[in-house]
Symmetry: C2
Subunit: 222 residues, 2 copies
DNA sequence: TGTGACAATATTGTTCACAATCAGATCCAT
DNA sequence: ATGGATCTGATTGTGAACAATATTGTCACA
């Protein structure tokens, strides 16, 4: 292997876009960081042309910000917008939860309940990483079970924009103790095949997420 | 003026993307139509490079479909996906309606009521174009009044994908007679500052839109 | 010491030529 | 005729060279 930093040489623009997106998601590229085309080209073993169109695509996705003749940077999503994103996600994930409740098979119910007990165990053990993983798994599972691909794609895009705030949240002490019952309520409603309740539980959960984000932002400013 | 078809020479990729998007929206470019880079370049007075990145951006937006070495075409959204889009729009526009109901000023209420009476008059007069315009105005006004820019942007993108089905709908005979009361119910709920009812009315309206799309598709297949 | 003009450098924007690929046409052997 | 191989024209993909612009550094002068 030639260089350690180069994950794999990306041949086309889409591949470069994927790599940059992943890097942002992983926190390797932080908000407001400048994205110099030549550097990215070398880093990912692609031509500058590919990097250029990748940056264009990421700009459309809202992950990257571009200024004429001044280059691209990782877009910094302001708190206000992050709250908007959570609100939209609440509407969409509520839709997904309701659909999942309608379509759920018995096997899928078992999977959901397992995720629930894993999360309980994680809180019990004080294992934040495990809890965070359970959280991600629960949300993505419900989205998948909904069979609503348009909603899934939209949620994905929105999540990609607001990465930064996700991190903050799990660092907040006592957060899991508050959100665990919300998660369990969602699981119960879905497994009971109650679409209305599932949607409401999901909405309430994400509203609480929004509130937590707001509070953690307040405290970091003060 | 050199050529009649050239609306205005587009200087950068974003401008070209805007032009192509408009052309698709206006029905000048129909689904599955091939988009040859050289042709577009000449048509809009841009270089092929600009057209290329414009097509990349439109692909991310889901308006255009690209196949390796075979070029781009206007993406044809299958019925199934169109219904998904309406379902997602229902969730988002319901959110917007609820927010609009909470934030509504008295002046804004007057505007909404005026749109309502215009639509009534249009149905009375059998003026389909005026009704369609009222419909667009009502939806976009509510979205604007919600102050939810993330939702607004998301809805915009989804609408752009499903243009084709909008046209069909207004051609359906008796459609306006069915949807008018739905629209009026939305207006009433928002003006009464009842977020829950406004959201429900909007959801029901868009569910009925989805059903109408499904029916009109069935009949066009049979 | 500060400030403005100017030069040097870094970076992005644009175009173009050429390579790669594909769809359809043509031709030939069976 | 038919089926396959090959050729051809059209179109897309790629990279590099050049132009335009912004940023940084330098220096004289007040």
């Amino acid at each position: 292997m030639a260089t350690a930093t180069r994950a794999s040489s990306a041949v086309n623009a889409t591949a470069v876009a994927d790599q940059i997106r992943s890097a942002i998601f992983a926190g390797e590229l932080v908000p407001n960081q400048r994205l110099v085309e030549a550097d990215l080209a070398e880093m990912y073993g692609a031509s500058r042309g590919h990097v250029r169109t990748a940056l264009s695509e990421l700009t459309v996705e809202g992950v990257v910000e571009r200024i004429q003749n001044r280059g691209a940077r990782v877009r910094s999503v302001p708190l206000e917008e992050a709250l908007e994103i959570v609100e939209v996600r609440a509407a969409l994930e509520a839709l997904c939860a309701a659909r999942a409740a309608r379509r759920l098979t018995d096997e899928e119910a078992l999977v959901l309940r397992r995720i629930g007990s894993d999360m309980e165990a994680a809180v019990e053990a004080g294992d934040q990483a495990a809890y965070a993983q359970g959280n991600t798994e629960l949300h993505s599972t419900l989205i998948r079970l909904s069979g609503q691909q348009t909603a899934a794609a939209t949620i994905d895009r929105l999540r990609a924009q607001a990465v930064r705030f996700q991190y903050r949240l799990f660092a907040k002490p006592g957060r899991s103790r508050q959100s665990l019952p919300e998660h369990l309520a969602i699981i119960e409603a879905v497994c009971a095949r109650e679409p209305e309740n599932a949607a409401r539980a999901m909405r309430e959960h994400l509203m609480s997420v929004g509130q937590a984000i707001e509070e953690s932002a307040d405290s970091s400013i003060a």
